[in-house]
């Protein structure tokens, strides 16, 4: 990581410049989700006790608030967890995902009530739909007759104005480890609902075995709808859907994210857009408002401040740009630029506060007071982000952190692989977090096409001794198909063919053809390419999106050309002036060979829109789009995406006019959450009090 070495102008990433025309209004999705919840609750008459599956609390918190639930008859809320449930209301409403563990708890509680002779009316709301499995389990437990089973169809939840998510944290594990494809079906349904709202996707492009499954399900669903289906007119707002499954690019999440949001997710952890922060950062400041703390990143204070903070009580904070404009400026920055940005804002704020001294007349004073509210909230958010950065900085200075970055960079450059593996072994000796080690190992295996048999066994043994033999199933999952992320080289002769196929990830050729690694001498221009999000590595997933939606950007740097045209003195000018019109979507054209070299099926379907003239017209009509009109390309990540990938896509969106991206995903992941989910050690935040909140 090159802290503070970037010299690009900050204007580049300041406020995202928006096109004037309206984009998709995805807040509708939130309204639909809200209304669905209220309708589901209202189907039960009177006061009710709500018992909530804790993994849903986060997603629900994004669409509603406790007051609204109370308003619709929710008397008390509890977490769904083993043990007795005492309810003062006759109605008990369970709200959970249809997982066996939850249903067993529900059945236990009902049986307990029956034994104690308590009369309750039970309603089970399953998210997103009812399930035969649940019926069966309730039947086996002998309580099916006591429960009314219904559903609450929670689908896409907007996380930002250009991100929607199913908020299913375990999607990756469910598909690639358990082989449970429920998520794919649910994704299809969510995308189908999306089409009902905004019109069908004229074209579906995708890569990956499961992406192909999803694309086929979706097109089959669309055909099944028949001509009378709503939204039959091709959407003018959408130009395509790009589906990428996570296996197409396993490398990106294995790396350490280096944007502000990404790094925060790596080091502090962001769940459902919420981050746990020390209470003192959220409460109104006790410091005098005239002197906002300039971010102090000098090492002497850097180490001592967070030490006290860590012990402090923590509180969940919703990271949203709607109430925190500063976040919008910071979230996608490379962390090396965050300190400077904070400094700038602090100075600007200081200037703004000073204005009050210039206030001479009463009306000027009144003007100032009018602005005060805004200043104070900005001040508050500056405090928060300064504090958060201070939490992050010392963690980025540890030897382990930098060692792991170094190993990553070397592996990506295929530089002295054996030594990197020795370095990983050293990390194990030092007691580095398990997930860091696993990520590096998988990275080594994928980039190098496997690790030497003997070396691999040795390092696995180290791992098991250091972290516990209970991680053996994790290692087995990683080394079997379809995951194939940790393999010996060469593969044993009798390895199943699907494993052998998955093992052939053409990393080195992709690195060249997709211009993945930006060499050191280009590092000056980091923020001119999507690779800035990993300080020199362009996520494969995003390069693939570019090869559909910004073909020029894959081969050379679009920002570079623009820079050449401009004079140095004009640097301060709005970069938007040089932006070129986005080209129409023509599938993988030009990159067929590259894409087909990646294991997994390639998808390119032109959806015949009923009512249109059939097949190819939509592609042609997209060619004829009026220049001013802006369309949206939906990028769906099956198995989750990282904050860095979102940042990179936003960056592309800013390079061209006429196309914006909407990121849709099964959930936001990081390498950490991925590994923990497979290992089954993913922590949940709930617990503590029995009484639940959102």
């Amino acid at each position: 990581m090159n802290m503070g070495s970037t010299s690009t102008s900050d204007d580049q990433t300041s406020r995202p410049t928006h096109d004037i025309d309206t984009s998709l209004d995805i807040s509708v999705l939130k309204e639909i989700a809200r209304k669905g919840l209220i309708d589901a609750l209202n189907s039960v008459n009177g006061a009710k006790t709500l018992v909530l599956d804790a993994s849903l609390a986060g997603p629900l918190g994004l669409i509603t608030e406790v007051a609204l639930l109370k308003h619709h008859g929710v008397d008390k809320m509890f977490w769904l967890e083993p043990g007795p449930l005492s309810s003062t209301t006759t109605n008990i409403v369970y709200l959970c995902r249809p997982f066996i563990k939850w249903i067993k708890i529900v059945a236990d509680q009902i049986k307990r009530h029956n034994r104690e002779g308590l009369k309750h009316t039970y309603t089970l709301l399953l998210v997103p739909r009812t399930s035969t499995l649940v019926t069966r389990i309730l039947e086996e437990e002998g309580v099916l007759g006591d429960v009314t089973i219904s559903s609450y169809n929670l689908q896409f939840i907007p996380l930002a104005e250009d991100v929607v998510s199913l908020e299913n944290d375990d999607a990756f594990k469910e598909i690639w480890v358990d082989g449970d494809e429920t998520v794919i079906f649910n994704s299809m349904q969510a995308l189908a609902s999306f089409q009902r709202l905004y019109g069908p996707f004229p074209r579906i492009v995708g890569k990956g075995t499961y992406a192909a499954k999803l694309a086929n399900l979706l097109t089959r669903h669309n055909q099944g709808q028949g001509p009378s289906a709503p939204g039959k007119v091709a959407s003018e707002k959408l130009d395509s859907l790009i589906i990428l499954d996570r296996q197409v690019d396993m490398i990106t999440p294995l790396l350490t994210q280096l944007t502000y949001m990404g790094l925060m997710d790596e080091l502090v952890g962001i769940k459902n857009s919420h981050v746990e922060v020390p209470v003192s950062l959220l409460n109104a400041s006790s410091a005098p408002p005239t002197k906002p703390n300039a971010p102090s990143t000098s090492p002497s204070t850097g180490t001592s401040v967070p030490a006290t903070m860590i012990k402090e009580k923590r509180k969940k904070h919703h990271l949203t740009t709607t109430s925190d404009p500063l976040l919008a400026e910071l979230q996608d920055l490379n962390f090396s630029g965050v300190g400077r940005k904070l400094n700038q804002v602090a100075h600007r704020l200081d200037e703004d506060y000073k204005l009050r001294h210039q206030a001479q007349t009463v009306s000027q004073l009144k003007d100032f007071v009018g602005k005060l509210g805004g200043l104070q909230s900005e001040h508050q958010s500056l405090r928060l982000h300064t504090g958060l950065s201070e939490l992050l900085v010392p963690q980025t200075r540890t030897e382990e952190f930098n060692k792991s970055l170094e190993i990553q960079q070397n592996l990506l450059a295929s530089y002295d692989v054996n030594n990197q593996i020795n370095a990983i072994e050293d990390l194990i000796s030092q007691g580095t977090e398990m997930q860091v080690v696993i990520r590096l190992l998988c990275l080594a295996s994928i980039t190098a096409g496997g690790i030497k048999h003997k070396t691999l066994e040795n390092i696995k043994r180290e791992l098991l001794q250091a972290y516990g033999y209970n991680y053996l199933p994790l290692l087995l999952s990683l080394s079997s198909s379809p995951l194939a992320a940790l393999l010996p080289n060469p593969l044993p002769a009798n390895a199943p063919p699907e494993l052998a196929a998955a093992a052939k990830y053409p990393f080195t050729s992709l690195r060249k053809s997709l211009r993945l690694l930006i060499e050191d001498n280009e590092i000056e221009e980091l923020e001119n390419d999507i690779s800035y999000v990993y300080s020199g590595w362009a996520p494969i997933s995003v390069r693939l999106v570019q090869s559909v939606a910004q073909k020029g950007g894959v081969l050379s740097n679009p920002a570079e050309k623009e820079k050449k045209g401009e004079d140095g003195s004009q640097k301060g000018k709005e970069p938007a002036t040089g932006r070129v019109q986005a080209h129409p979507i023509v599938g993988w054209k030009g990159f067929e060979d590259v894409v087909s070299s990646i294991p997994g099926e390639t998808v390119d379907i032109v959806q015949s829109i009923p009512g249109g003239l059939g097949g190819g017209t939509s592609a042609i009509s997209s060619l004829l789009l009026p220049r001013e009109q802006s369309t949206t390309t939906v990028v769906f990540f099956l198995g989750g995406c990282t904050y860095t990938e979102i940042a990179a896509l936003r960056w592309i969106g800013r390079q061209n006019k006429g196309r914006r991206f909407l990121v849709a995903t099964t959930g936001i992941i990081s390498g950490k959450s991925m590994v923990e989910s497979i290992a089954g050690t993913g922590g949940s935040w709930s617990g503590g009090s029995r009484e639940a909140g959102l």
Partner: protein
């Protein structure tokens, strides 16, 4: 001959401010039995009536209608045609009534209810075992469900007709059955849940699923309770024969009327119904009165008992001679036809009349309403919809068309669609069809429902024509047609013919669908029908044409086409459907053949197999064990053992599970490494057990990793044992050194740490010592290790230890003046800066 003028049937009320009209829909002399001897239930929207003999009443032998020895239900169309007759062989019928989609719901005292369509096919549901034990004494059936009163006087609410579980409503604490009671359907209440009104003693209780409210009335008991069509008002008839109308929340009294003086009103009233939302109809054996909102009345006489059905916009009365309809004359009709009306529509109609007679007054009239012409046209269109006679419909539409011509821009959509709708309405009102539906009812019912009512009567051709005419999808009609075709064409006796027959039927159905263009027809539903009547061959053939897997699967399962069902379910991508099949098969098949089915499916059924594993891992590990075992999946079996080990609390069981895993791994040649690891694991667990015993259970070791065990040993001062563990498990030096460094720092045993550091040359160097100690805040101790680190790192390390002087000295020793200058700039205070300055100056 011109049909009589619309106003002929009008009768004025409220001093001529409102008109009611009564017109005969069908003449049906002698077609219906004497309704006084029967229980009757009428279906709204011009639907049929169902009758059943009231066995408590005597009937003259040899009467025109057949005498019934056992319970029989008859269904008659409003035109008096018999639609359906069936016998009832179940327990005594408590109540019967009609659903919204024109099915007859029949409930018996055992809590069983059936839903009959007009072809006599039925679905049967039950109110549950509790209800059947208590017995059902009474019920109210509304279009969207029913409320039953059990023998223990509890109220059970069934919502919808899908056989849902009944919900027990709040207990009103009845001690005897209510005098009378009624329900307000859920879609008319504020809470959107059903509300029951019970007349008990002198008061009325309102009951819903939350509470029973005593309305504290003193005028009861009431013999009749009837909610208005919009659910806002309630008509009550007291035992002293006073009609009392209140709002359904009992907050306002709306009207009162004493019926004792009504001529011909003898004995107890037979029905209290509503005529619109502001007038109440009370019937006795041979008379009926309509009581308006201001207590004024209209009276009608009949030759025998009648039955009245409240419709949304009026009331339909079936008498011995005729089926008639009484309603408040709609506003548009009043506006056009009221004698002396000077409304624009009346003038438009008049102008058109002049026009047809070539009178010049036409032009004059049109001119006079120029401004309001558009409204007048709309009103004429609307009035056309309200007329029964095609003659008047046509005249009114003509008038509208005439007026339309004078308008520059007029959207004719309403005009055209009214023309279409009237054509449809006139067709279905024809006595052979016998659905006397009004325009208002039609708009409320929806065209789709009307078509399904036609198909229910097997009037497929008409239904198809109407679908086409209204440009609706023809698939519901086709589907129904196909089903009834299958039902009607009984298979031939000889087997060879049968196969041939099936082919012909299947072909004819498919061909019909293709020619008529019924896209989106579900072949699966038709196939199910065929299968239900025992025609498996036909069902299979039809199912082949079904494109949607989710529709094929349940039927395939019922047909025991297991493999096909599973394949289709997997193809659909719907995991719930896969579970549906899996769980079904697991229940039905022997476990061996169930597994075989999955194994033989190979890669295609892999998703199903995976799902079964997900399910079984949580709910049925025994089965999963068998599954893996039968398929020789040793690795999975081993992992299952490890899961068990992770979940078991008993140490011995845990060790045994690990050993079992080890055994499974060792059976697979490729899994030597894993077997070895599990061997180590078991060894570790045993060692830990031993260690715990030695520590008298004061320290817990069990389940820790090797590293952790070493750490715990070290912080408890058991260095020897730690060394032994290191040797036993061949822990590499590097890892051991780090672990020990961390452990000793944790317990602040710096002496031991120092001894350890000196014990031999550190395999990890000494920088980690410094770094770790600094990280844990032991700067002083850290500094003592700096001299042992690489020379070129020492300055930095000293700085990390906050040892500025030492750092300075180090610079001096190395003669690095530049670095010293830099230290001076970055050092925390001036005191140190001065000392560094001195050092610098002492250098050359």
């Amino acid at each position: 001959m011109e049909p009589e003028h619309p106003t002929v049937s009008w009768e004025a009320m409220q001093d001529g401010n409102a008109f009611y009209r009564r017109h005969q829909l069908y003449s049906i002399p002698g077609k219906l039995p004497n309704l006084g001897d029967f229980f009757v239930a009428g279906c709204r929207y011009g639907g049929p009536i169902a009758v059943m003999r009231d066995t408590s009443k005597m009937v003259a032998y040899g009467h025109a209608t057949p005498a019934f020895s056992k319970a029989q239900l008859h269904v008659y169309s409003p035109a008096g045609e018999g639609l359906l007759t069936f016998s009832w062989d179940q327990g005594k019928i408590v109540k019967f009534g009609w659903t919204f989609d024109e099915r007859l719901a029949v409930l018996n005292e055992e809590g069983t209810y059936r839903l009959y369509d007009l072809q006599g096919d039925y679905q049967q549901y039950s109110l549950g075992s509790e209800a059947s034990e208590m017995g059902i004494v009474d019920a109210r059936i509304h279009e969207g469900g029913l409320v039953a009163l059990t023998g223990s006087l509890a109220l059970l609410d069934v919502r919808g007709w899908e056989g849902g579980k009944p919900l027990t409503l709040a207990n009103p604490g009845l001690t005897q059955p209510p005098h009378s009671w009624t329900v307000i359907p859920p879609d008319l209440t504020i809470s959107r849940h059903v509300e029951v009104l019970l007349s008990t003693e002198s008061t009325v209780y309102s009951v819903d699923n939350l509470e029973a409210t005593d309305q504290r009335l003193s005028r009861g008991p009431f013999t009749h309770l009837a909610p208005s069509p919009n659910g806002k008002s309630l008509a009550l008839l007291t035992s002293s024969r006073t009609l009392w109308v209140v709002s359904t929340d009992f907050q306002r009294s709306l009207a009162e009327f004493d019926t004792t003086h009504v001529i011909g009103a003898e004995g107890e009233a037979s029905q209290v119904e509503w005529c619109g939302n502001d007038a109440v109809l009370i019937t006795w054996d041979t008379t009926a009165i309509v009581v308006g909102p201001f207590g004024d009345t209209l009276q009608y006489f009949y030759t025998g008992p009648t039955f009245a059905i409240t419709e949304a916009d009026g009331v339909r009365i079936l008498g011995p001679d005729a089926c008639e309809f009484i309603q408040k004359v709609p506003a548009s009709s009043v506006s056009v036809f009221r004698p002396g009306s000077s409304s624009p529509s009346a003038i438009l109609y008049d102008a058109w009349d002049h026009f047809t007679r070539r009178s010049p007054k036409a032009d004059e009239s049109i001119r006079s309403i120029r401004v309001e012409l558009a409204a007048a046209v709309d009103e004429c269109i609307d009035a056309a919809g309200r007329e029964w006679e095609p003659y008047w419909q046509r005249r009114l539409l003509n008038a509208a068309k005439f007026g339309k011509a004078f308008l520059d821009s007029y959207n004719s959509t309403d005009f055209v669609s009214m023309g279409q709708v009237l054509k449809v309405l006139n067709a279905v009102r024809y006595y052979e069809i016998g659905i006397p539906i009004t325009y208002a009812q039609y708009t409320q019912l929806s065209p789709g429902q009307l078509i399904s009512r036609l198909t229910a009567r097997n009037l497929h051709l008409l239904a198809l024509r109407i679908s086409g005419f209204l440009s609706l999808s023809s698939s519901p009609v086709l589907k129904h047609w196909a089903c009834s075709k299958i039902l009607k064409s009984r298979p031939a006796a000889s087997t060879s013919d049968a196969v041939l027959d099936e082919d012909i039927i299947c072909k004819s159905i498919v061909e019909k669908f293709e020619t008529v263009g019924g896209t989106g027809v579900s072949y699966a539903e038709i196939a199910r029908k065929a299968w239900e009547v025992g025609r498996t061959d036909l069902a299979t053939k039809l199912l082949d044409h079904e494109p949607k897997a989710s529709d094929q699967v349940p039927l395939l399962l019922s047909m025991k086409e297991d493999r096909l069902a599973l394949n289709k379910a997997v193809e659909s991508g719907d995991t719930d459907l896969v579970y549906h099949v899996l769980l079904h098969l697991q229940k039905r098949l022997a476990i061996g053949s169930f597994f075989r089915l999955l194994e033989e499916g190979g890669a295609h059924l892999a998703p199903a197999s995976k799902l079964l594993q997900v399910y079984a891992r949580e709910q049925n590990p025994e089965m999963l064990r068998d599954f893996y075992y039968s398929d020789d999946r040793r690795v999975e079996s081993a992992v299952l053992c490890l899961n068990e080990a992770a979940n078991s609390l008993d140490p011995t069981a845990k060790i045994n599970s690990v050993k079992a895993a080890q055994k499974f791994f060792s059976e697979d040649k490729e899994r030597g490494f894993e077997a070895k690891m599990m061997d180590e694991n078991a060894r570790l667990l045993q060692t830990q057990q031993q260690l715990e015993k030695e520590a008298d259970g004061k320290i817990s070791f069990f389940g820790l990793s090797v590293n952790e065990t070493i750490r715990v040993l070290l912080i408890n001062g058991m260095a020897k044992r730690a060394d032994k563990l290191k040797a036993d498990f061949k822990v590499p030096d590097k890892r051991f050194w780090y672990t020990k460094l961390h452990a000793l720092t944790e317990v602040r045993d710096f002496e031991a740490l120092d001894a350890f550091a000196r014990s031999r040359r550190s395999p990890i160097g000494y920088t980690p010592f410094v770094r770790h100690l600094v990280e844990k805040g032991h700067h002083k101790e850290a500094a003592s290790y700096v001299p042992r680190c690489d020379a070129n790192k020492r300055v930095d390390l000293y700085v990390e230890c906050n040892e500025w002087r030492a750092a300075g000295k180090e610079c001096k020793e190395r003669g690095d003046k530049a670095r010293l200058e830099q230290l001076k700039r970055t050092c925390p205070n001036s005191l140190i800066a001065r000392e560094l300055e001195q050092l610098a100056s002492s250098m050359k």
